[in-house]
Symmetry: C2
Subunit: 334 residues, 2 copies
């Protein structure tokens, strides 16, 4: 099964194969997994080994204005900088756009604005591809369901399948070879008091991409075989915590899940270590604050930055300890 097969299957009964608009716009929030996606059962279709569970990041995300014209070359700008199609993100974006190029003469222009650093473990590709599929849907007038858009977004980046909603989202691993049962769904639970702090320790692009790190882990870590069972356990605990508003259970499960993911990388060969010295300092600080009674936990993705989890009642206290840290309340519109 190829990506083109999936796209063809989803668009099979769509009337508008040619764009019905010349321009469309979409925004998607970034998301961070509280129970991580790490490891693929199919690298072509970004089908995951396990389900995962995320929270959206509100105003942190990506906006895209997408336009099409006949007989023009593709162009893309990210934050008003022309994208090099030979760059790593350029290649991925172009490969994805090719899936929707109905006629060979069709040229895309993508004008992307994002307020999160690219390739620094802040899910820039998640919100990037999620906003792109929504813009494509509007441009072509397909009127796809969010479930279908989630499948298309996954073809660009696995975690993008989770970036079409606000709040808690579960991405079902699925079992089918064509991935038609591997899509995300929003969870109806809300938690207005939940706060996420973005502790940015470095915004430079990581040396090892998450897709390379993921494949290396699956291929070489002696602990990867135990990862799916860890996720099954953690996913169930996190969903229970969300249902019951049990912050202690949410925090410790999310932190433990993230550290276990990094443990699978550390035990890979060559080893993968996303932590910087500042990451270790921040972890120690969080553990000290917690020992002193402040209920704060962290999660970490494929990068050195930490995302802190705490409740609104501790917001002022957290601000004194982390003065420059952006704080998001995913369920409060600001």
């Amino acid at each position: 099964v190829k990506k083109t097969d999936v796209v063809r299957a989803i668009l099979a009964d769509r009337q508008h194969l040619l764009p019905c608009n010349t321009e469309a716009e979409a925004y998607a929030s970034s998301n961070i997994a509280l129970c991580k996606y790490w490891g693929k059962r199919n690298t072509e279709l970004n089908l995951p080994m396990t389900s995962s569970f995320s929270i959206s990041l509100g105003n942190f995300g990506s906006n895209i204005r997408l336009s099409v014209n006949e007989n023009v070359a593709d162009t893309a700008c990210i934050n008003d900088q022309l994208l090099d199609w030979q760059s790593s993100f350029g290649k991925r974006l172009r490969e994805f756009l090719n899936l929707f190029r109905i006629t060979p003469t069709l040229g895309f222009h993508a004008d992307i604005h994002t307020n999160i650093p690219i390739g620094a473990g802040l899910a820039s590709s998640a919100c990037g591809f999620a906003s792109l599929v929504q813009a494509l849907d509007r441009l072509f007038g397909w009127e796809l369901s969010l479930l279908e858009l989630s499948i298309l977004a996954r073809l660009g980046s696995g975690s993008a399948s989770r970036s079409l909603w606000q709040g808690f989202v579960e991405w079902h691993a699925g079992t089918q070879a064509d991935g038609m049962d591997s899509y995300a769904e929003v969870c109806t639970d809300v938690w207005p008091d939940l706060c996420i702090g973005l502790l940015i320790l470095s915004d430079t692009e990581k040396k090892i991409s998450s897709r390379v790190a993921m494949q290396r882990t699956v291929a070489t870590s002696p602990f990867y075989t135990a990862w799916p069972e860890t996720v099954r356990h953690d996913l169930s605990a996190i969903k229970q915590a969300v249902r019951e508003k049990d912050f202690l259970l949410l925090g410790k499960t999310a932190e433990s899940n993230a550290l276990s993911m990094h443990a699978t990388m550390l035990s890979s060969w060559p080893p993968v270590l996303y932590a910087l010295p500042g990451t270790v300092t921040a972890m120690q600080k969080i553990w000290e604050l917690r020992q002193a009674g402040l209920m704060v936990f962290f999660t970490q993705d494929a990068g050195p930055n930490l995302k802190l989890l705490f409740l609104a009642k501790d917001k002022a206290h957290m601000k004194t300890h982390f003065p420059n840290m952006p704080i998001i309340q995913p369920f409060i519109n600001e």
Copy 2:
């Protein structure tokens, strides 16, 4: 089975139950495991889940002068400082000495000199208990075999069972409940070109002792079940590397084994992280040097310090990169 049972069994046919000397002296080198000991199948007797394999650290170790007198209180000095029997090492030492106190009125005086920081992951307890059992043997005139002394040393500290020899040493896990088949043996292979660099990043005592960290890992890490198989694989590879003088195999297996051990700790709850910011900086530097062609690897124990593995031909080069690092050639007498 209690420690006293093991001591009684080993000393059963020894003629001299009372000291035949009033003073004895012994020295033991510290050792670092190239294939780690992590996790106990019996905490009372320090019986390990797996076998392990170490290299001795030559002049880095512990010297003890031990004396006995009737009707005096126990005293111990470490580097001329009086040891507090209420301290964590004080309690362990006293508990161990009690095993050999034939009459309740016998008082020990231990005068210990060591050139390695205590409790900083540099195997201070390994050389400490190994030198102590040798001094006890001389004091009491038991004339025990090294195999028997290895069993006694293990009762004080697991890794002490490996500190009675110079060079490569294997500690057999054993299977018996009384641990009589859990002792170390020296390996006949020598490797004069092998160098160990002690990269001391902190000499302060660690917050979590290795025995606490070990028990927490066994009890809570989802990856610990895969650790014994990892060790079986790594132990076999390291012994092959030593036989064939395959430095690349030795280095990568030792580094990967150490990182996998730390991965089991990171995935425990509460998480255990022995790395300091400087540990991460040093790891990144080592990986960069290796990518630039310098064959250097590291191993890390229950502390923030790294032990670097390289060959004598690269000694000058290593000295320029790590100017203050003590370098040991375990097979060269200096």
